[in-house]
């Protein structure tokens, strides 16, 4: 009886509380998101819309359909730029996935915890040298005159800086820079993901006669494949955006490397050397599409991003 009575009292009270929260919280909600929403529109939504507007019009603001896209795609520098990025992406993604997963597995199951923690930290340090600093560091590493591994460069028949900066070598060079700055962080993330696999699972695999390699291949890697997918898509999306690396190498190579190695550089040249903002916008839209597809895949295909609370 008493129980029933208390229930009767609490239910309406709770309902009133929720209703109150909906109303009051709602108004506060608008206030609290106002600043961010402003930024989101000013630097997310509006520029996207503006890029599309420019890409579909000419310099007089007249609608030109797909003309801008066709025009930039026919530009003699367009296909090479996208081809360069494609080669780079394949190299970078394969290296990234193979080496980060492999080293995370090794650090998790083949090395003592203290060594593992130290190694993870040391691998992670170059992450602080992102951007221009990392390119400068690699300019030194690749200059046979000063490089600590000049013997290696010489062994590969690259005796001068010019020989290192051959156009064919660029995808490898950018891959090295990207791996050097980015892989350490991913190794840490992969290690964290492997850590969530319970010891019983690993033990069970060992009881079934699986060696360490077999366990890694059939148990650990399948269990973190969501993370591998996450890393791949993010690395893909950011890899399409190369700008600072080729731009700096272009400077340092005294023009031996073209100004339009990557699509972003090409857009830059369209906008700032040719004053062709519509063409630049069309290239940006191409890149936006690639970025959006990768983002969309990540949001829809993985259950890693949740929109609703428990």
């Amino acid at each position: 009886m008493t129980l029933l009575e208390t229930r009767r009292v609490t239910v309406p009270l709770r309902r009133r509380d929720t209703a109150l929260r909906r109303r009051v919280g709602g108004r506060a909600g608008y206030l609290f998101v106002a600043g961010y929403t402003l930024f989101l529109f000013a630097f997310g939504v509006f520029p996207t819309g503006y890029a599309f507007y420019l890409a579909f019009t000419n310099e007089l603001g007249q609608f030109t359909g797909l003309n801008q896209f066709v025009r930039v795609a026919k530009d003699y520098r367009f296909l090479p730029a996208f081809e360069h990025i494609l080669i780079y992406l394949v190299l970078w993604l394969v290296t990234l996935v193979v080496l980060t997963v492999l080293s995370a597995v090794l650090l998790r199951s083949r090395v003592g915890p203290r060594t593992s923690a130290l190694l993870r930290f040391l691998y992670y340090i170059p992450g602080a040298l992102a951007g221009v600093a990392s390119v400068l560091v690699w300019l030194f590493m690749l200059d046979p005159d000063v490089s600590p591994v000049s013997w290696l460069l010489t062994a590969l028949h690259m005796d001068t800086f010019a020989a290192v900066l051959q156009p064919g070598n660029l995808p490898v060079i950018f891959m090295l820079i990207a791996f050097w700055t980015g892989a350490g962080g991913w190794i840490v993330v992969m290690y964290g993901a492997l850590n969530t696999i319970s010891d019983e699972v690993i033990e069970a695999a060992r009881m079934d006669g699986a060696g360490p390699w077999r366990t890694a291949w059939s148990v650990q890697i399948p269990m973190v494949r969501q993370w591998i997918a996450y890393m791949t898509i993010l690395a893909f999306a950011s890899g399409t955006q190369l700008f600072v690396e080729p731009q700096l190498l272009q400077t340092a190579s005294l023009g031996r490397i073209g100004l339009t190695w990557s699509p972003n550089q090409l857009a830059y040249v369209f906008a700032f050397q040719q004053g062709d903002f519509n063409g630049a916008a069309a290239i940006s839209v191409f890149l936006l599409a690639v970025g959006l597809i990768a983002a969309g895949l990540l949001v829809s295909r993985s259950s890693m991003f949740r929109l609703d609370e428990k």
Binding site: R21, R22, G25, G26, A28, G29, Y30, F32, V33, G35, Y36, F39, L40, F43, G44, V45, F46, L102, S103, R110, L119, F121, L122, Y124, I125, P126, G127, A128, L129, A130, G131, V132, A133, L136, V137, F140, V146, P148, V149, G185, V189, A193, A237, Q241, V244, Q247, L248, T251, N264, Y268, A271, L287, L288, G291, A294, A295, S303, M304, E309, K310
Partner: protein, 303 residues
């Protein structure tokens, strides 16, 4: 069973297969170690030597402290202390946008997680998509927009775009949605707390570690950003450090014999500039390593 396993392990430990496998593991991890650490060690040593010593001495040797002083003087004398100007600019740009980022992303994450309003879901979806798109995607459109509104060359053309940080909003949202006890909020509400008091007295103090994480990512990202300031700031005295480094590079005789002739900017000075540029980030890295790792995982998982 346990006995059987225990008895087997030492035997497999001595088998040739195991030795080879251990060697492969060791070699791979050591190779990675050299790859990641050697360039850092080289850069740390380089400013202590003269340009000549860098070429002739062994790569990881230490030159002298006086040489570091000389490199320091050359570097800071470059274009009338341009390094100091750039450093100051970087601090202003990254600092101001850090403040704006924190104000907007903490409140937005809180509102998205704990209040209900129309358009909330749409806001979340747009946030997710922009968060995953690489920031460079939008740099050129943002430039065109800023150009249209005549903001190019002003500090706002860097600070405002830097302050847009959807990843921070998402991190705050995840934290508030998953870890802030709702009962606590309801109880406080019953006691007559206003929405603002709930936020400032309960949610904010509890969220300190995540706020620190957002601050870290925002600061590091903006500090290292090159593309946007490179486009929107035409004058050297407005450059942040990253764009300044690019100018320094073009003034170096080893990379640009024509423009660099007669200047004291050689490889030791460049290496020193790299160290100066990364110092704030490196310091933050060392201090917040542990929180970072858990944060990177928290940023994308279900708890």
């Amino acid at each position: 069973m346990t006995v059987h396993v225990a008895a087997r392990r030492p035997r497999t430990g001595r088998s040739p297969g195991h030795v080879v496998s251990a060697l492969v593991v060791g070699a791979l991890l050591a190779a990675l170690l050299v790859f990641f650490v050697l360039p850092v060690a080289w850069v740390l040593m380089a400013p202590s030597k003269t340009a000549g010593q860098i070429v002739h001495d062994s790569p990881l040797s230490f030159g002298s402290f006086s040489q570091i002083g000389a490199a320091w003087r050359h570097l800071f004398a470059f274009q009338n202390h341009a390094m100091l100007t750039w450093l100051g600019n970087s601090v202003i740009y990254a600092g101001a946008s850090l403040v704006l980022t924190l104000i907007t992303s903490v409140t937005a994450g809180y509102a998205l997680a704990l209040t209900r309003f129309r358009g909330r879901r749409a806001l979340l979806v747009i946030t997710l998509v922009t968060m995953i798109m690489p920031s460079a995607t939008l740099v050129l459109p943002v430039f065109l927009e800023l150009n249209r509104f005549h903001l190019i060359g002003t500090v706002w053309s860097v600070i405002l775009p830097f302050s847009f940080f959807p990843f921070g909003v998402y991190l705050m949202y995840i934290y508030f949605a998953g870890s802030l006890p709702r009962d606590l909020l309801s109880a406080a509400r019953m006691d007559g707390c206003t929405e603002w008091q709930l936020f400032s007295r309960i949610a904010l103090p509890l969220a300190k570690p995540v706020i620190g994480l957002v601050a870290f990512f925002s600061f590091v990202g903006n500090w290292n950003n090159f593309f946007l300031p490179y486009l929107v700031l035409p004058n050297s005295d407005e450059f942040p450090l990253q764009v300044g480094l690019n100018q320094l590079l073009t003034s170096t005789p080893s990379f640009n014999p024509v423009a660099g002739a007669g200047l004291d900017i050689t490889i030791p000075e460049l290496a020193l500039a790299v160290i100066v540029a990364i110092c704030p980030v490196l310091a933050l890295f060392l201090f917040s390593q542990r929180t970072l790792v858990s944060g990177m995982l928290a940023g994308a998982t279900k708890e």
